[in-house]
């Protein structure tokens, strides 16, 4: 098995995770991205989705992030999440409420400038990902 790297997951409210892991799958803005130890240095934007952590050949932790950034270096990965929750703690009804809210905001933003519309769209997609994650859990 490959070596491990330090995974740090922080949200504005607290430090959620900081320990050596074997692999992490990040929901990068341009597609899922698996990171192993020794990855080339990167800074990526994240969309709403689930981060899976692999240790000892098994997925040990699944966390939903609503969006954010990740800094990847060969020996460390730092995820700055806007908001992060372990998948088990997601509530489906809360996620659905958020989708409804986001859809309304998107409908409202139809006439807004493109950046605003894109932000609303990103929020809506993130909320949908949250529902999907809550269902899968």
């Amino acid at each position: 098995m490959a070596g491990t790297f330090q995974l740090e997951l922080v949200s504005p409210a607290k430090l959620l995770l900081s320990r050596p892991v074997e692999m992490a799958v990040l929901p990068a803005a341009e597609g899922e991205m698996g990171v192993l130890a020794g990855h080339a240095p990167m800074i990526v934007a994240l969309r709403g989705g689930v981060i899976s952590v692999t240790e000892g050949g098994q997925v040990t932790e699944r966390l939903f992030v609503a969006g954010g950034f990740a800094e990847v270096t060969p020996e460390r990965v730092t995820v700055l999440a806007d908001e992060a929750t372990p998948v088990e703690q997601l509530s489906r009804s809360a996620a659905e409420a958020r989708v409804t809210e986001a859809e309304a905001a998107l409908a409202e933003a139809q006439l807004a400038p493109p950046e605003k519309r894109e932000a609303a769209m990103a929020r809506m997609l993130s909320a949908r990902a949250m529902v999907a994650a809550a269902e899968a859990a």
Binding site: A13, P41, I43, A45, G68, F69, L80, D82
Partner: protein, 294 residues
């Protein structure tokens, strides 16, 4: 000389004041602990954000189409001051400290011929500055009655500031708040938000591992998303430090109020006993001289 009854009432009233200040001190101490741990929990995020921003900033700074949040509008005439204070008082010089600091800054800026706009966060600062600078206010935010202030609240403020910047309503934005140094010292300080002060490049960073980062999507896109987030984080940190500082200051203020009340009670009790003794002596003298006259 006050009558015995009046003294007794005074003593009782000071005693109940002492009870209240003591209770407030205890409550402030408990809340301080929570606010402090919250502030500490937010620190890792801010630190890592800074590191990432430093890497990105160096890659993009200098290019003419760098985002406004990073380099500002290039002008230096309209200053927006975001003044963070508490919503409540009874915390000694906590709020007036920031208020006085902000007032000095506003005066200095206006003396240089700049235009000043104020956005206040927290009720006390607004009350303090409004009398003198009411016309400069562009907004007031208050969390009165709210149990806790989360990151989303800070993010809203950040969005508002960003929108104002896009609309060209100011050139430079600074944050004025009470920095939490320890439970007994809070220092009113100013921090520049826009243009973003880039962290000093360390020797290691300058030699270039930073330049090796790959970006997905492009540097500009990430920076465009990262900067508003950073603004939110800075404001969030200021709000948290302000909360922690407020409870620290309140604890101190209530501690000395309790002590003063204790001293006052001692003095009044002494006074009360003397008066009582004097009354008894007077009565005795009256009885004895009455008996002697017979």
């Amino acid at each position: 000389m006050a009558t015995l009854k009046a003294l007794r009432m005074r003593i009782n009233s000071v005693k109940s004041t002492r009870k209240i200040t003591q209770a407030m001190k205890m409550v402030a101490a408990a809340k301080l602990r929570r606010a402090q741990s919250q502030a500490e929990a937010a620190r890792p995020y801010a630190e890592r954000m800074e590191r990432m921003l430093a890497a990105l900033g160096q890659a993009v700074a200098g290019s003419p189409d760098a985002p406004k949040l990073l380099i500002g509008t290039g002008a230096d005439t309209v200053h927006l001051l975001v003044v963070v204070t508490a919503d409540r008082g009874l915390a000694g010089p906590f709020n007036t400290g920031v208020g006085r600091f902000a007032r000095a800054r506003i005066r200095a800026l206006e003396a240089e011929g700049k235009t000043v706009k104020i956005l206040s966060v927290g009720r006390k600062g607004a009350v303090y500055l409004k009398r003198e600078f009411g016309s400069r206010f562009v907004g007031e935010i208050s969390y009165q009655g709210r149990k806790s202030v989360g990151f989303t609240d800070a993010h809203e403020i950040a969005e508002r500031i960003t929108a104002m910047l896009e609309a060209g309503e100011f050139d430079v934005c600074s944050l004025i708040y009470n920095r939490f140094r320890s439970v007994i010292t809070q220092i009113p300080s100013e921090q520049r938000l826009i243009p973003a002060p880039l962290p000093e490049a360390t020797a290691e960073a300058a030699t270039g591992p930073q330049a090796l980062y790959e970006y997905e999507p492009s540097e500009e896109d990430i920076l465009a998303a990262l900067l508003p987030q950073n603004l939110g984080v800075q404001i969030y940190r200021a709000i948290l430090e302000n909360t922690a500082g407020f409870y620290g200051a309140q604890m101190n203020a209530m501690d000395s109020a309790t002590r003063n009340a204790g001293e006052m009670i001692n003095k009044l009790t002494l006074n009360y006993n003397r008066t009582r003794q004097a009354n008894i002596t007077k009565e005795l003298i009256e009885i004895i001289s009455g008996a002697e006259a017979l």
